[in-house]
């Protein structure tokens, strides 16, 4: 017995531990054990005793007695392997020498190393702290928003701020764009559709000073405004109609969120309310349909096939990261595994914000009234009562045949499986237990197998019952639901933790809900309420949204006015619209940005007021052509001396084709539509499908925002023209120019069919006079009359080709001018 204990001790502690060895243990205690000890075993490594050191963690043995060059303790401490340990500091040379000598001696311990005397919990909590310095608070985007006075008395302060910039750099602002360019720009920008010929002519004929103001008001009042600007928002919230990954399951109700966004914008819902409802609609306005639908925002991200703690953490990361970039222009996601490397975003802030969303989960909730809900519940009950007896009867009918098949199948099994089954469960070996379970899963019988051994009368019964069951299943009552967010634990939310290195294996302290510290005045962090245990939710999201949407929040207003500016002027005042941190770009016009943000707040967060302000500036109405002298000074137009020339997004291009061809179906809202996709592109898995209609099917000629957004089956035209992939927030679309885009506009059945429809429209509009056709085509497609040269080229072409008009129409869709806002 004594010998056994001695052997055990020798293994655990090694032999002949000496005072020098104790010195090494002290180095370990001081530097390593917090993360590789009782409180936490980072990377699976535990250094509390010698056996554990020999066994090591995920990277292999930590201690190889006698060989420091193979002992990971030494390799990481010496910085031979990266990341060097302990993180963020260098081990003193003397300590390193102690460790090295100790390993060379055999790495013996006189006693198990133990965690430092300090309470491990307190030590962990200390490790998680990362204070914000005063200097960090002085970074431009964290400073309070002041309302600077415009530098001169222009009619529109925007122009005063820009003019000051031109003056400083020796630039001259561009002249006003001609009326036809201007109205086309405003239409494409505000509604995503080109103006009609009549609208252009009316604007040209209107010589009153408020002619453009009238256009702007009309556009902002058009439902097409919400469809256009709603699409910008959907990019930011990674909107899609399916869940991605393996099954890419359709979300047949998520379109209600899309429609909610469109309608909120059209109603000019104040931006603070717009965001409040999306984060915590259920807590601000419990029970309302809008609130149920708006909180769909939280769980719009992709959904992994497997549900476990890790995929839940990934899901929450998507929510925290999207909230950070979209609402605050802060890359919160970078603080999941460590404190943010560039910005003052402590990892603890990340996990406190994660704690805001932690109690929530995705819920598909009914959006009907109480009475309807009750009727649905009763109908469901009645339906079950009808279905269940049928299923029971079928089961009874099948039972004897099932058993027969089972016995037959058993006889065909290899001997060791049969033996496993024959052995009584309590006598089975471990292997037999597993094998028996395996076998059980193979002994079932399909309907076909069963019917094949039935006498005819039972076969008939089976057919009849199955038919009854199928018919009954079809009668399953349905209820309208919303893609929404719920809190199942109500007022008693479960605990979440700080995760060291972002790993679920390294849980740190329990986290309370919190906010982005640096965006709050010191000592003015919001208080999260302690909810009534019987409450229906934790109220954490509401408290968070109150803080986020406060007029004193330094980022919330700045980020949004910059986004609105970006879409009107091609680039943001901050050209990294979702990164207002150190690695982002600084604002080109910081005072203008702050003035706009203040104005946004002062005008009650009205987005339409912001649009009107920007659209009515002289700056917006400038020409977009180059001015050589300016180009030399400011080639990238940072000081905004001209308007932008921007290729329209995929959706605007498709919608413009439909509008010009005269085929656009302007129906607003509802479930998504499925235009044609070549099956070669999605025959990817039997689990997914795209019920595409023909290219000539007019029911698909809806605005592109209504095209079903399937994460794994993108519409080629959208995919090639840089529609974002919907898996993370996109604030600024890429703008590729590639040959495969041209192939779509040159060769697709869609382009060809629409060209025919456009030609048909021209004939209907102006008859067979070719010159009139050409003029009309230019007016419809490009909002202007053709030049003499253009007319000559087009006439020659149409007259000399039997298919001239259709081909000319397709040419129009392919013109650069057609695809650019100028």
């Amino acid at each position: 017995m004594l010998r056994f204990i001695l052997v055990a001790m020798v293994c655990a502690f090694g032999l002949y531990a000496s005072p020098e060895d104790d010195a090494a243990v002290n180095v370990l205690k001081k530097n390593c054990l917090l993360c590789h000890g009782a409180a936490m075993q980072s990377s699976g490594l535990d250094l509390r005793d010698r056996d554990k050191m020999l066994k090591g963690g995920e990277r292999g043995a930590a201690l190889v007695p006698g060989d420091p060059s193979k002992s990971l303790i030494y390799r990481f401490a010496a910085g031979i392997d990266q990341p060097s340990m302990p993180p963020g500091k260098k081990l003193p040379e003397a300590d390193l020498a102690v460790l090295k000598a100790w390993i060379e001696r055999g790495g013996n311990l006189s006693a198990p190393a133990v965690v430092p005397a300090e309470d491990p919990k307190a030590a962990l909590a200390k490790l998680e702290e990362r204070p914000i310095t005063e200097q960090e608070r002085q970074f431009w985007s964290f400073r309070p928003i002041a309302k600077p006075a415009p530098p001169s008395a222009a009619a529109n302060p925007i122009d005063a701020f820009l003019a000051a910039g031109w003056k400083a750099k020796g630039l001259t602002g561009s002249p006003r764009a001609n009326k036809r360019t201007l109205i086309r720009r405003a239409y494409l920008d505000v509604t995503g559709l080109p103006p009609t010929v009549e609208e252009v002519r009316a604007f040209e004929a209107d010589s009153s000073p408020d002619a453009f103001a009238k256009v702007v008001d009309r556009l902002l009042a058009s439902p097409a405004y919400g469809e256009r600007w709603g699409r910008h928002w959907l990019d930011l919230v990674r909107y899609a109609d399916s869940g991605g990954y393996e099954t890419d399951t359709d979300r047949p109700n998520v379109w209600r969120y899309r429609d909610w966004v469109v309608s909120a914008l059209n109603k000019d819902m104040p931006y603070d309310r717009f965001v409040q409802l999306q984060i915590a609609g259920d807590e601000y306005a419990p029970g309302t349909v809008d609130a149920k639908v708006a909180t769909g925002f939280i769980y719009l991200g992709p959904e992994a096939n497997m549900r476990n703690e890790q995929t839940r953490m990934d899901e929450l990361d998507d929510i925290v990261a999207t909230t950070g970039t979209t609402m605050m222009g802060m890359t919160l996601g970078c603080a999941r595994c460590h404190n943010h490397k560039f910005d003052p975003i402590p990892q603890k802030d990340y996990y406190q914000i994660q704690a805001v969303f932690f109690p929530s989960s995705r819920g598909e909730v009914p959006i009907v009234g109480e009475a309807e809900k009750k009727a649905f519940d009763e109908a469901t009950k009645a339906w079950r009562a009808k279905l269940e007896p049928l299923e029971k009867e079928l089961k009874a009918l099948y039972a004897p045949y099932r058993d027969k098949i089972r016995q037959q199948k058993i006889l065909q099994l290899p001997d060791f499986y049969q033996l496993a089954l024959k052995t009584p469960p309590e006598k089975r070996t471990e292997g037999q237990k597993l094998n028996a379970i395996q076998v059980e899963r193979q002994l079932g019988a399909s309907r076909g197998e069963i019917e094949s051994i039935m006498p005819p009368e039972d076969q008939e019964k089976s057919c009849h019952l199955n038919e009854q069951i199928t018919l009954t299943e079809l009668q399953k009552p349905v209820i309208d639901t919303a893609w929404s967010t719920v809190e199942k634990d109500g007022g008693k939310p479960k605990e979440s933790h700080f995760l060291h290195h972002g790993s679920i294996g390294n849980k740190g302290s329990v986290m309370q809900p919190g906010v982005l510290t640096v965006a709050s005045a010191p000592n003015a962090l919001p208080k999260f309420p302690t909810p009534d245990p019987n409450a229906s939710s934790s109220l954490r999201r509401k408290a968070f949204a109150d803080w986020l949407t406060s007029p004193t929040h330094p980022l919330f207003a700045r980020v949004m006015v910059n986004r609105i500016w970006q879409h009107h002027f091609g680039e943001g005042i901050v050209r990294t619209p979702s990164n207002f941190g150190k690695t982002g770009e600084a604002p080109t016009h910081p005072e203008l940005l702050d003035w706009l943000a203040s104005e946004f707040i002062d005008k009650g967060w009205s987005m339409k007021a912001m649009h009107r302000l920007m659209l009515m500036s002289d700056a917006y109405q400038m020409a977009s052509d180059d001015i050589e002298a300016n180009r030399k000074i400011d080639p990238t137009n940072r000081m905004l001396w001209r308007q932008a020339r921007t290729r329209v997004e995929a959706e605007v291009l498709r919608d413009s084709v439909l509008a010009v061809a005269g085929t656009l179906d302007k129906t607003i809202g509802g479930p998504g539509v499925f235009p044609f996709i070549d099956p070669a592109l999605f025959a990817a898995s039997t689990k997914r499908d795209w019920p595409g209609k023909a290219e000539t099917d007019a029911s698909t000629f809806r605005r592109s925002i209504y095209v079903f957004s399937k994460r794994t089956i993108p519409l080629p035209m959208f995919d090639l023209f840089d529609k974002p992939d919907t898996n993370s927030a996109c604030a600024r679309r890429n703008r590729s120019t590639i040959a495969t885009q041209s192939l779509i506009l040159m060769n697709s059945g869609f382009a060809m069919h629409q060209a025919k429809m456009f030609a048909e429209r021209l004939r209907l509009d102006v008859g067979n006079d070719v010159q009139a056709q050409v003029e009309r085509a230019y007016e419809i497609a490009l909002s202007r009359k053709p030049s003499a040269r253009e007319t000559e080229l087009a006439l020659g072409f149409i007259k000399n080709n039997p298919t001239g008009l259709v081909d000319f129409c397709q040419t129009m869709f392919n013109l650069n001018e057609f695809a650019y806002i100028q």
């Binding site: 802060m330 592109l681 794994t712 898996n727 993370s728 192939l743 060809m752 087009a794 000319f808």
Partner: protein, 472 residues
């Protein structure tokens, strides 16, 4: 540039990429850097690598569903000795579906191949014949046992969806040597594509220029490559000529706008692509002997053989990255042998063994193997224990894959799994390590090739990855 306000069509096309393989664009200085507005003008213009590259092109053979290592390249006699016994001593045995069964011996025999004496099973006799050109890694592991995340990890480095794929990273890093063809081409199995679909060859948050283009194996290779039949003869050429003339009128106002010029060039490239892409996959131009080498004369190997032969023709023409999926859809249609392993792997190996060996031999004979990196892999391996009695479940803890060509040292075996082939234990290699090594052969530093998105510079290898020095 110039003050010239008007160009002839010929001048315009010469300026905008009408020259050889798009070099004119590069000459114009419109290459990959981007213009005033920050939009890349010709994002596919060739770019210099970080250092001298060993390989110019990659062919990835993706055996989707997951190939069993213990039945192909990693023999484990212990499985036969302990058939039906419980696997013990390996910690918790994690399976993706159902409960673990007993150890399941391989139904195939292994033989030694080549001077290096590589053990390869009877599933891959032809590939075995190329053993001395192959570097086999037996100690791969990945971090998900679920198809879609594991596919994404193999293709993009991340188990989450939304990241650019390896082909995108490589074309982003190097551009393309042939502007008349897509730079990143994907062939799917005749039974369908992989789980997860298009995100497997997605550009993620990069510009669309870097996305994989699916190629069909029969008929026109690219969807919408050619106009509908009624647009016959020179009808399209005529309206494209009109388009160019009208675009010239428009360009005259802003002659320095490189985006406008690039779009004009893109249309011309697209027009040329119609003939180039069809020629590129015109297998009838290959001799009967070559067709036979790839197995085009046998029904089982014909489809995959066509894809392999097309891959050779594409890399020959400067295409940067070709990926071919073996297996599509679900279960038996892919390598996902949850049941009846013998039928499943027997079928898929039969379809691919000869064409794969043919591809390696042909590349070698043409002197292309030195500059073409061929990788054979799945998204994970399979369990040494049984599932549903005669199948194997997913196994991310240990699996085999091989590389050949592109400067890889052949006849080389790296790492080992445990006695059952369950977990990689010796010289373990991560997917990041594999990606780092592939980029390295292409002349790219995996830790320097970055792309910014939402405030962070992303890499194919995230925050890790070490070169697999044993094979380079």
């Amino acid at each position: 540039m110039t003050n010239k306000r008007f160009w002839s069509r010929r001048e315009l096309l010469a300026r905008c990429g009408g020259g050889v393989a798009g070099l004119a664009l590069a000459d114009l200085g419109l290459a990959a850097t981007g213009d005033a507005a920050g939009a890349a003008v010709n994002p596919l213009a060739p770019k210099a690598p970080h250092f001298a590259a060993k390989a110019k092109a990659v062919i990835s053979i993706f055996c989707y569903g997951g190939v069993s290592q213990v039945d192909t390249f990693d023999p484990k006699p212990e499985l036969a000795r302990r058939a039906g016994e419980t696997m013990v001593g390996k910690g918790e045995v994690v399976v993706s579906q159902g409960l673990p069964g007993g150890l399941l011996p391989s139904p195939w025999k292994f033989k030694k191949y080549g001077q290096c004496g590589m053990d390869v099973s009877d599933l891959f006799p032809h590939v075995g014949g190329m053993a001395d050109d192959i570097a086999l890694i037996r100690s791969m592991y990945c971090t998900s046992n679920d198809h879609a995340p594991a596919l994404f990890q193999m293709n993009t480095g991340f188990i989450l969806t939304g990241y650019p794929s390896m082909g995108s990273w490589i074309t982003y890093g190097l551009g393309s040597e042939n502007q008349n063809l897509p730079s990143f081409v994907v062939f799917q199995d005749w039974r369908g594509g992989p789980i997860g679909g298009a995100p497997n060859w997605s550009n993620g948050f990069m510009p669309a220029a870097y996305q994989g283009t699916p190629f069909r194996t029969n008929g026109d290779p690219i969807v919408d490559l050619r106009p509908p039949a009624e647009m016959s003869g020179d009808r399209q050429r005529k309206w494209l000529d009109l388009l160019n003339k009208l675009n010239e009128e428009h360009l005259a106002k802003n002659p320095e706008d490189s985006e406008f010029s690039a779009r004009i060039a893109a249309h011309e490239l697209a027009y040329r692509m119609q003939t180039h892409a069809v020629k590129a996959v015109a297998l009838e131009q290959e001799s009967a002997a070559i067709q036979k080498l790839y197995g085009l004369d046998e029904p089982e190997t014909e489809y995959f053989g066509r894809q392999c032969l097309m891959a050779r023709r594409l890399v020959e023409r400067g295409v940067r990255f070709v990926q071919i999926y073996s297996g599509g859809g679900n279960f038996t249609e892919s390598w996902d042998a949850h049941f009846d392993l013998e039928l499943n792997h027997g079928m898929h190996a039969k379809e691919t063994d000869k064409p794969l060996a043919g591809l390696l031999k042909d590349l070698k004979a043409n002197g292309l193997l030195d500059s073409t990196l061929v990788i054979w892999h799945g998204e994970f391996g399979r369990m040494p224990i049984s599932q549903r009695m005669n199948g194997r479940d997913h196994n991310p803890y240990g699996f085999s894959l091989w590389l050949a060509g592109g400067g890889i040292k052949g006849g080389n075996i790296v790492g080992a799994t445990d006695e059952y082939g369950y977990k990689a234990v010796e010289n373990r290699k991560s997917v990041n390590d594999l990606h780092a090594t592939i980029l390295h052969q292409m002349g790219l530093h995996h830790d320097k090739l970055t792309y910014p998105h939402n405030g962070r510079n992303f890499r194919l290898t995230d925050v890790s990855g070490s070169l697999i020095k044993e094979i380079i």
